[in-house]
Symmetry: D3
Subunit: 69 residues, 6 copies
C-alpha cells in the first residue's frame, strides 16, 4: 500500500483525464515491478498547481515561460 | 503543535463545511487524548482531490466508480 | 480511501507503538463517523520529526523548550 | 535541488502574483545563503487552502475569524 | 519539473539502493512518456516509513502483518 | 499560521542545528514581510533525505555525485 503524490503545473493545455489515468496505472505498475508492493492498494494523488504557484530556480513558472525558459 | 494533512476525494456531493470543522476538531482532540499534544496549536489542512486525480490499485476513482468498486 | 499524514516532534520520551496504533485507529474511525469514508482503506502515515527540524513562530522546538515555551 | 512546500489560507483578498513570486525568490535565496543549496534548481510549490479546509487549535480559520481570533 | 513523493514501508528486508534508483528513473521516464514533462528536472523523494508508523484500514502495518494480512 | 515543509538531502557533512534554526527563522520572517502572515504561528518542518532516496532528472543524488553533477 505505497502512497505516491505527483505535483505538476496546470498549463493552459492541462493534462487530460486519460493522461492522469495513465500516470496512476504506470506508477502503480512500476511499484509492483520494482519492489513488488501494493498492486491493489497503492494510493496515488495528482496535484495540478497553477504556474504562478510553482517556482524553480527562484522564479515562478509563469515568469520562466515569459523568459522562454 | 502537530501538523495533520487529510486528503480525500471531492465527490459530486462534497463534504460540507460542518463536516470539515468536525474533522478538524476531531483530529485535534484525538492528538490531545492520545499523545497530549497541541490543543491550541495543531494545524490541520484538508485537501479535496478530484476523482480523476485520485487513484487506488492502479485506477482512478472515477474509473473505479464506473466499475462499481 | 482517504490519506492522512500526521507530523509531530520526536521527543526524548517518544510516543509509543501503542499510541501510534491508537492514532491510526482513531483517525480512521473519525473519517468513517464524520464522512463515511474508507473504513478498510484509509492510509495513515505518522512522521516523527527531530525538535531541531521542527519550528513554530520562527524558532526551533529545541530552542522553544530551552525558553520554557 | 531542495523542495519547499508553503501552505497558507486563501483569503477573500488573496495573495497576489507578485507576492507569490517574492516568496519563491525569497525562500530560494534563503536556502542559498544559509546552506548554499540549489540556486538554479530549488522547487517551490505554494498551496492556497480554503479557510474552511484549514484548522488551528481545533477550529477552522473561518470559525476563528468569526470569533475574532 | 514535476515533483514526486513516494512513501512506502521500511521492512526488515528494506528496498535496496538499486531499487530506489530504478523507482526514480522509472517515474521520471513515465512522466516524460505520458505528459512530456521534466526529463532533466523531475524531483523524486522516497520516504521509507516504519511499519509502526504506517496504517491501513485502522491498523498499523506491524499489526496487520501479525494478523497475516 | 502558514505551514512550510523544506526537503533537502542529508549529506556526509549535514546541515547544522544553527543552520536549521536560521532556515526556520528566515522563512518565518519572509512570510511576515511578504504576506504579513503568521509571525507567532508559522509551522516549519525540515526533512533531511538520504541521497539514495532523492532523485533529480532520473538519477539519485548519490549517482549524480559520482558523475560529478
Amino acid at each position: 500500500m505505497p502512497y505516491v503524490n505527483i505535483k505538476l503545473t496546470r498549463e493552459q493545455d492541462p493534462i487530460t483525464r486519460e493522461q492522469k489515468a495513465e500516470l496512476i496505472t504506470g506508477v502503480t505498475d512500476l511499484l509492483v515491478q520494482v519492489v513488488g508492493r501494493g498492486p491493489g492498494t497503492t494510493v496515488v494523488v495528482i496535484d495540478e498547481v497553477d504556474t504562478d504557484n510553482y517556482g524553480v530556480g527562484g522564479a515562478t513558472i509563469t515568469e520562466r515561460r515569459k523568459q522562454g525558459k
